[in-house]
């Protein structure tokens, strides 16, 4: 137990802070922060597996998050029959073409000796393939995007349960990670960081601009939810009864019937939002705890030992016959898949998919700050990092506002400096996170909860 005392202490403090938000701001805000903390924690665990276990830098978190989000749209949204009728066949043909191209190139690479001829052949296949795809898909895309553009304009999804998309999101991300890993894993650490970042940008720009796929920057709203809707709760009698019973003393204190009804309505509205968030919190908690158990088990398994051995001394590990390239690829895929799950969780939580919002600042760099602040190589640390940094990220603006008001209280309301500072309060989050990162890097480079060397 002593081994975990600092983990328990750190987690208790975090939980306390969130409860304080609940008391002083509102429970609804506290729970949304909590849910986002957990989503961040999952992303951080994915990145931590790659960085902490294997020393691989993945600055492409943004791309995998976006793919996870895309999975939600493609799985849960009902198909748009009209779009499929006008363009489905062409798009499927293109998909078949792409698969055909990949397999024929693989076949050529395997069967024909390395030569100029082979290169020309491959180039020709790619060139002809691209032209065919452009010819076949071009008109189809135009037709698809013309189908009720304000509402549809895309192929839609499969209409399956939304929770299923979390798994699909993991597979999407894993698929991308396989390609990226094959291309970039041989690079030196900082090149890998840049390469993954840029590849993620490519992925996001495709999602943003291929409207037939998921409406691009026009966003998909009103996604299905694995939890009840507030509106339904507010009209179901069991829920109203529940709220009534929970607040019975408060309600009993009021005499006027109409006032009582008004208060009850208000309470029900608040409670419905809290209830929905609690449902999400429960589901996220299941994911986080499952991942935590699995990753902890993996870390202390022979496989985990091997990974750390590779991380700490690649040459020695490879001399002992460990296939480093393969292991790196495997762990890169695994970590990215976890990020994919987080991406799907996030879109499910929000109920909307907004490709325009995937920016490296929020979905790569902040996540990396979480990894470093929490403690590299330590799963408990990764989760903590997700909590702490997300908490700061969200609460920085209110905190800054508070201090600005405090320190400029003697100035008149219209003072230019005061107005300017209040306007810029949201940007103090960058300052806070940046300084936090620099301080941790300097004085506690292993993070708040450092990796423990377990003696065996």
């Amino acid at each position: 137990m002593k081994k975990y005392s600092n983990v328990i202490a750190a987690y208790s403090i975090m939980l306390m802070l969130i409860i304080l938000v609940g008391i002083f701001q509102s429970w609804s805000i506290a729970l949304s922060i909590f849910n986002y903390c957990m989503i961040s924690a999952v992303m951080t665990m994915g990145a931590n597996i790659q960085w902490g276990y294997a020393g691989l830098i993945n600055f492409g978190i943004m791309g995998y998050t976006a793919l996870g989000g895309l999975a939600v749209v493609l799985v849960s949204v009902a198909p748009v029959p009209e779009s499929w009728r006008v363009g489905g066949l062409n798009m499927m043909t293109c998909l078949a073409l792409i698969i055909g191209m990949i397999f024929s190139i693989k076949y050529i690479l395997k069967k024909i000796q390395k030569s100029k001829k082979r290169n020309y052949l491959i180039a020709a296949i790619i060139f002809i393939g691209l032209i065919l795809i452009k010819l076949i898909s071009g008109p189809a895309i135009e037709r698809i995007e013309a189908v009720e553009p304000a509402k549809f304009g895309f192929l839609g999804g499969l209409g399956m349960p939304v929770l299923f998309s979390w798994i699909v999101g993991a597979f999407f991300a894993a698929g991308l990670a396989y390609i990226v890993g094959k291309v970039a894993l041989g690079l030196r650490a900082d090149y890998l960081a840049i390469a993954t970042l840029l590849i993620a940008e490519i992925v996001v720009s495709i999602i943003k601009h291929e409207d037939w796929l998921a409406r691009g920057v026009k966003n998909v709203i009103g996604l299905k939810r694995p939890a009840p809707y507030e509106i339904d709760l507010q009209t179901s009698s069991w829920f109203i009864n529940l709220v009534e019973r929970l607040h019975s003393t408060k309600l009993a204190a009021i005499n006027s019937l109409s006032e009582k009804q008004e208060l009850l309505n208000q309470l029900v509205i608040n409670a419905s939002s809290v209830y929905v968030k609690l449902c999400f919190a429960g589901m996220f908690l299941v994911v986080v705890i499952t991942l935590l158990i699995v990753t902890q088990k993996a870390l202390y398994s022979p496989w985990g030992r091997m990974m750390r051995a590779i991380r700490d001394n690649e040459e020695a590990a490879s001399a002992m016959g460990k296939n480093i390239v393969k292991q790196h690829l495997f762990i890169f895929i695994l970590g990215s898949a976890i990020v994919g799950i987080a991406g799907a969780m996030m879109v499910t939580n929000d109920g909307l998919f907004t490709p325009g919002s995937y920016r490296p600042m929020r979905y790569t760099f902040v996540i990396w700050v979480m990894v470093i602040v929490g403690g590299t190589g330590n799963n408990f640390g990764a989760i903590l990092g997700g909590f702490v940094v997300w908490f700061l990220w969200v609460q920085a603006a209110p905190m800054a506002l508070f201090f600005i008001n405090l320190s400029t209280a003697h100035l008149p309301e219209t003072n230019a400096l005061r107005v300017h500072l209040i306007e810029t309060a949201p940007y103090f989050r960058f300052l806070l996170v940046g300084i936090g990162l620099l301080l941790i890097m300097r004085f506690r480079p292993q993070g708040i909860l450092p990796e423990k060397i377990i003696k065996q």
């Binding site: 650490a189 840049i194 390469a195 840029l198 940046g434």
Partner: protein
């Protein structure tokens, strides 16, 4: 005649903009490559540092304008360059002293320095937004055009007009001058040679009596000059917006790596490779073909290889291809 018109179309819409944008990228890429070659880390604060210097140019320009001071037909911002550079260098040296030098003395691995530069990125971005805010700002004044399309048409009697913006000429001219001076400095002066020696073989440079502190300081100074000028030229030509500058880090990195990171010649060249690729692949060639093809063959589509939405994606794809086939860049860079 048709043929000349076609050439003018290309010049006007692709070559001149690409040269301009390429110069801006090249300056950024040289900034990245100097830091990488001599201080040995990938600086993720690149875009924001350029933004920092430019911010002061913008503010000073507004100040001068409010005082009624201008630079004739040239942009007032040019007057502010020395001051912006001075503030920028001051900021960089402070950052180096308080942040980077600790890790350099400890001989931390480059990855750690790159992570630290993330912290610097956040802080710089915060400072910029707190001072000037996130909005889009234009600070170009003076004569906007050197040659207007209508004037050109009158002069030559051609159908197509050639527009030359003063910012385009300024960008290309200043870039050539600044980069030439920098190369002269690196290759022909004792200090420049000592910087290259330090970049090539740090231990031996120390054994030869080269003072690492001096090399580092001069590197930041040169990097500061290049970054500020690059940032100001970009801002004059397009506009100044902190978010855009942050994002510019990506094509700038691409340019530096494509050219061979650590190699300033490569970075210079890489800037133009990226710019030309972006513009040539996303330009709609319809008008060009309308002039050179006989009427019967005239295209009815735009003849655009890729939509302009994919502008950034192109430079990144080039980077991926280069990393795959020639990881040390087109010009030999640092060994990976």
């Amino acid at each position: 005649m048709e043929f000349i018109n076609a050439i003018i179309v290309l010049l006007n819409y692709t070559v001149i903009p690409a040269l301009t944008y390429g110069s801006q990228l090249a300056l950024g890429a040289i900034f990245v490559t100097l830091i990488y070659g001599i201080l040995r880390f990938a600086n993720f604060a690149t875009g924001d540092m350029m933004s920092f210097g430019t911010m002061f140019a913008v503010l000073l320009t507004y100040y001068l304008q409010s005082k009624g001071i201008s630079f004739g037909f040239l942009p007032t911002a040019l007057l502010t360059i020395p001051f912006a550079i001075a503030i920028m260098i001051f900021y960089m040296l402070i950052i180096d002293k308080t942040v980077f030098s600790y890790y350099r003395i400890k001989k931390s691995p480059p990855v750690q320095l790159a992570m630290v530069s993330l912290g610097v990125m956040f802080v710089t971005q915060a400072i910029i937004r707190i001072i000037i805010g996130p909005s889009d700002r234009r600070f170009l004044d003076g004569e906007k055009f050197i040659l207007k399309a209508s004037e050109f048409k009158e002069m030559t009697g051609l159908n197509e007009g050639l527009t030359i913006k003063s910012t385009q000429v300024l960008t290309i001219f200043i870039t050539v001058v600044v980069v030439s001076i920098m190369f002269w400095f690196l290759n022909k002066t004792k200090t420049g040679t000592s910087m290259r020696a330090y970049s090539d073989n740090e231990d031996l440079a120390l054994l030869s009596g080269i003072d690492p502190k001096r090399v580092v300081m001069i590197t930041w100074i040169i990097a500061g000059i290049i970054a500020t000028i690059g940032g100001i030229l970009y801002g004059l030509d397009k506009s100044y917006r902190p978010f855009v500058y942050f994002n510019n880090m990506l094509p700038i990195f691409a340019a530096a790596i494509v050219g061979g990171i650590g190699n300033p010649y490569g970075a210079f060249f890489g800037g133009y490779v990226i710019a030309f690729a972006e513009i040539f692949l996303t330009y709609a060639y319809k008008r060009f073909f309308v002039y050179i093809l006989p009427e019967s063959l005239e295209p009815n589509s735009l003849i655009q290889l890729l939509s302009t939405d994919y502008k950034f994606a192109i430079s990144f794809s080039i980077l991926v291809v280069v990393l795959l086939f020639r990881p040390s860049g087109i010009f030999e860079g640092k060994k990976i």
